[in-house]
């Protein structure tokens, strides 16, 4: 993984010193809250419903064991003993004190971490496929590109005061595991027959109150010219994006109001007159960054212990649902579920984080990934070590075999924590998880995504969940809208609303009725999204509308 050089370390140290000074000036009143707010946001500090929240950047979701230990210690020393992993591959701490932030940043800097640009109207954390570098369907590792963009975008003097936040995601495999079409810019690595490896650029994607699926604005850009092209996109956005209305300020609105063709023309025109010499990347620089992401030495291993352990059905299920085969024979990438039945999606205690760090050192060459599903990946686990790893995870409450199943729910913090939320999301996730606790049932249902957002900002990506749940307030009560048919892959689709909002206590029953309807209607081999696409929403509206009545499939 990327390691800070002297320039990086000096930059972060300087930024920390600057922010420590700004905090001191806020506390003594030299800075008003209005003056301080944009500063603290660009350093990852939010004021939430109950306390300050600190969002720490985990670049493209990649962490070392050493870094995870420091996160665990921050949780224990400065918070309430836990952290929350987010849908943008970052970590948040919910109970931070402003007076402690400078010290926290200093401790993060010791392990090459920071909170820079994790909030505010700037380019945010670049996210990527959590199986980067290891997936068998990979064309090229997206992490070097994500790192290149991270370096380019950090404190980019032109782009620190954008009309609104700006999110970039990179995928390098035939399957998109980075949700690129829901990002302001999505980058897909492709292998062109004539031109070799390059990048297809999507722009104008985004969720929130106006969900839009990103569209292709450039079919192919070379590695050398990528940053220059991104600058052209950002310049057009910076210049033409709306600043009069924060709800209309994202690039998706600009692309929509300008028209895709005209937007592309503007970007091309901007690119044509740009001097990109300072950002064009030569082969040496590409090779230098690539070198940081070389696979660790993974020696051939036997699989005897693994094969024998498969006789244990519990282990076999963990292996089936929580691992994928690595590029290198004899290894698997292992997903650690942070979705225990009835648990809080994405939360891990400091104890668990410390243990995860130790286990990563022992079983994964010290490397950890955070997924946008709010789970953790050990990318390089020898298959023969998996039984021991599984046992160790079990002792920590981290061995739930449910990746991709109905209890692998994505949920934002919601109104339990977030100052912007209109309803709670976590208790809804917990109740649905408990309703489908029986894992035989989960296996029967198969792959399905449930995404629960506590407000219209859609931090849990409810628009693109196979089942999406949006929590709102109606007449002083929590009220939940259900959508179905969302898809987060390259075939991205926005869910359709089933009907009027429902009360919180009705949500688990409703989800169960939808699932029963699917099981009743599906053909062999169909997943939920396939059945929905084949039949359409009306067949599911029947289940939604008949609450309180028994349908044949409920029996």
């Amino acid at each position: 993984m990327y390691r800070y050089d002297e320039f990086d370390a000096a930059f972060v140290a300087s930024r920390n010193a600057q922010f420590a000074n700004q905090v001191a000036r806020r506390l003594d009143g030299s800075l008003s809250e209005d003056e301080f707010r944009p500063i603290r946001l660009r350093n990852g500090v939010y004021l939430q419903l109950h306390a300050y929240m600190l969002r720490i950047a985990i670049p493209y979701g990649t962490l070392s064991a050493k870094q995870m230990r420091v996160l665990a210690q921050i949780g224990a020393k400065f918070d309430k003993g836990y952290g929350h992993f987010t849908t943008r591959q970052n970590i948040q701490f919910n109970w931070i004190k402003l007076i402690d932030v400078p010290q926290i940043l200093a401790e993060l800097a010791e392990v090459s971490m920071h909170c820079i640009q994790t909030s505010g109207n700037c380019i945010r954390n670049v996210t990527a496929d959590h199986f980067a570098g290891i997936a068998k369907d990979e064309i090229a590792d997206p992490r070097p590109i994500a790192e290149l963009i991270r370096q380019w975008s950090t404190e980019h003097p032109e782009f620190l005061y954008l009309p609104r936040k700006f999110k970039i995601a990179v995928t390098g495999a035939s399957a998109d595991r980075a949700v690129i079409r829901a990002h302001d810019i999505g980058i897909q690595i492709i292998d062109d027959v004539k031109r070799g490896i390059g990048f297809r650029i999507y722009a104008g994607g985004g969720l929130g109150r106006t969900p839009v699926i990103g569209k292709i604005i450039k079919e192919f850009v070379t590695h050398e010219k990528l940053l220059g092209y991104l600058e052209a996109v950002l310049r057009v956005y910076n210049s033409e994006g709306r600043r009069d209305n924060k709800y209309k300020a994202r690039i998706k609105i600009l692309v929509n109001e300008t028209g895709l063709e005209e937007f592309i023309k503007q970007v091309e025109a901007e690119y044509a007159i740009s001097d990109t010499s300072s950002v064009d990347v030569d082969a040496d620089e590409i090779a230098r960054i690539n070198a940081y992401f070389a696979l660790p030495k993974l020696l051939g291993r036997s699989e005897t212990k693994y094969d024998a352990a498969l006789n244990d059905s519990a282990f076999a299920d963990f292996a089936k649902y929580n691992t994928i085969l690595h590029k290198i024979d004899g290894y698997v990438a292992t997903t650690i579920s942070l979705k225990p039945i009835g648990g809080i999606p994405g939360d891990a205690t400091s104890t668990q984080m410390l243990a995860i760090a130790d286990l990563a050192d022992k079983y994964s060459s010290g490397e950890i990934r955070i997924t946008h599903h709010q789970n953790i990946v050990f990318p390089h686990v020898p298959k023969d070590d998996l039984p021991d790893l599984w046992a160790a995870l079990g002792a920590l409450g981290l061995a739930t075999a449910n990746i991709g199943l109905i209890s692998d729910i994505i949920a934002c913090p919601g109104l339990d924590y977030c100052a912007l939320a209109t309803a709670r999301s976590i208790p809804i996730a917990q109740e649905i998880s408990k309703r489908f606790a029986d894992l035989e049932k989960q296996a029967e249902i198969g792959n399905i995504s449930i995404n629960i957002s506590g407000c219209i900002n859609a931090c849990a990506h409810h628009h693109i969940g196979n089942i999406g749940i949006l929590g709102l307030e109606k007449s002083g009560r929590e009220n939940y809208q259900i959508t179905i048919g969302g898809d987060a892959t390259l075939d991205m689709a926005l869910g359709e609303r089933l009907g009027p909002g429902i009360d919180a206590e009705d949500v688990p029953d409703t989800i169960e009725r939808i699932i029963n309807r699917y099981l009743h209607l599906r053909e062999e081999g169909e997943e939920f999204i396939d059945t929905y696409r084949r039949l359409g929403i009306e067949h599911f509206r029947v289940a939604f509308a008949n609450q309180g009545q028994i349908l044949s499939e409920d029996l």
Binding site: G81, D317, P340, L396, A437, L439
Partner: protein
């Protein structure tokens, strides 16, 4: 200008340095909502806004709210949804759980 928040109401704010929610008791800021001073009339609510502005100027608090309240089962709660959760705190158990209570779930 007519006050938009109906009485009875209390004044809450975040402690600037530490971020926790506190309530104005009439003399000090307390984390105990049962100590909160209750405004029963419009002019008392306006006075609370003045108090809040004063403490903001002294860099003691940030982000205040006047919360309309009701008493339910002798407990103070807000009439507005968002503030009811601000008062109650998170409705979920968080932090370090008892590891003994966690099952190793399998199919």
């Amino acid at each position: 200008m007519k006050n938009k928040i109906p009485a009875p109401a209390i004044l809450s704010a975040h402690d600037l340095r530490e971020g926790y929610v506190a309530y104005w008791t009439g003399k000090i800021w307390s984390r105990d909502i049962n100590q909160a001073k209750i405004a029963h009339a419009d002019d008392e609510i306006v006075e609370m806004e003045t108090v809040a502005a004063s403490f903001i100027a002294q860099n003691i608090i940030v982000d205040f709210a006047i919360i309309p309240i009701a008493h339910i089962a002798y407990k103070i709660t807000s009439k507005t949804l968002r503030e009811s959760f601000l008062i109650s705190g998170p409705t979920i158990e968080y932090g370090e759980p008892s590891i003994e209570g966690v099952e190793n779930v399998s199919i």
